[in-house]
Amino acid sequence: MSNQSIYWNPVLETLPYEKIRKLQLKKFQRIFSWAYEHSKFHRTLYDNDGIKPKDIQSFSDIKQIPTVEKSMMRDIQGKEPFPYGDALCVPLNEVTAYRQTSGTTGQPVYQPDTWQDWEWWAECWAQLLWAQGYRPKDRVFIPFGYNVFVAFWAGHYGAEKIGCEVVPGGVLDTRARILKIQELNPTAMMGTPTYMLGMADTAINKMKLNPADLSIEIITCAGEPGASIPSTKKRIEDAWGAKVYDHAGATEIGAWSFECTEQPGSMHVNDAFFLVEIVDVETGEAIETPGVRGKMIITALDRQAQPCIRFDSKDIIEWDTKICTCGRTSKLIKGGVVGRTDDITKVKGVLFSPSSVENVVRGIEGLGNDYELKVEKINDRDKITLQVEFVQNFSEEMDKIKSKLSDQLRLKTNLNYEIEFCQYGELPRYPVKAKRFKDLRK
């Protein structure tokens, strides 16, 4: 048995929570002053509300600070210095890395990082990968396009920082990536849940290979909520014969949350590096009570080139009552990121989350991984249509499956659906991130 620490940072990760809070306040004061002194955008934003750095003395004071939304970042980036605008806190010649958001919710946001910020990204990832069992002995395969999106770039550098051997599976198609896994026997891999399932599907159906017979033992998923949706996690774990761990992060924020090897059904917040607040979606009131969902407002406490202070992430999360058995003292968010305010909507007067439908569909044996969901208004009434596929060559007990799906959907989401069954391969396939829910009422 190795005598290595189970924690990347045995001090910070086991700090009494009261002390974490003191550290967060101190670090918040520091990053707030930094942004106020170095960015015209931040100074103007806070001056308009009459808030100066010396005013931040408590968490109640923090709650009074205006939030920043992605749309504001887009406006900023029309200003000088090109292309980042006046939220930039360092001279342009200190920026060493450019990334951008995917633009799925509008014009992409540009993200500048200094070398120090990039070290910080890798540090956050090193901590989460260590918590998921990555060690220097691991060979890590990264089947990711290495493009302008941050995605698994930081995972690559985080794994290197740990001392893993990293295999960049960049400009390869899915078959070539599977062959590379067969050739090199990597022990770990990173990808979106959609792509991990898609890769497994390619291996089974197009290459007649069983991915569970390959060498992968650990999979880190990010980019979509799937790895925290129990039935999706199970499908990926079963397909690859590997443990699957979730991670949440964002280009503008950093790698703020992760699941550990205990798989408690919740994700740790990296509390020493981030301040996570949850607020009511409609009123903006702070939510401290576990089990109550709201949207996340987050501050990256050490990110300098383009600070992320009280950023309205639109992610829907809730605090867990549990403390993890792994010994980390950080707070847990129950079930990971359960959706986004853009996706969670009222249907027939009921709060509806597409991820709950995914959990039902992928929990039923005989149904494929792919589905499509749409809501439309017909004669002033909401109608939800769900399209699902049977798995390939499946012909038994179709009626039982249909009835089970309908019952489970009603039970888990309190809604009735128009269900359309399709043959395997009929529904769209998504290469990286899936966009299966369409609200046609908007």
Partner: protein
Amino acid sequence: MSQKINLSEVDKEIKQLKRTSELLMDQSERFPALQKNITRILASIKMLEINISDIVELDNEQR
């Protein structure tokens, strides 16, 4: 492990590393190989500060 390591002593060494790096940086204006490698070293030292020195500083403030 946190009981076996003297964080204050580690912090002192981190500060010494930073002083040395800054001293070298001051001499690097016309020496890119020195300047850019020290920039990277200072970024790594910052990671040591946020992993260790911030906690030591907090403890010292509370005493």
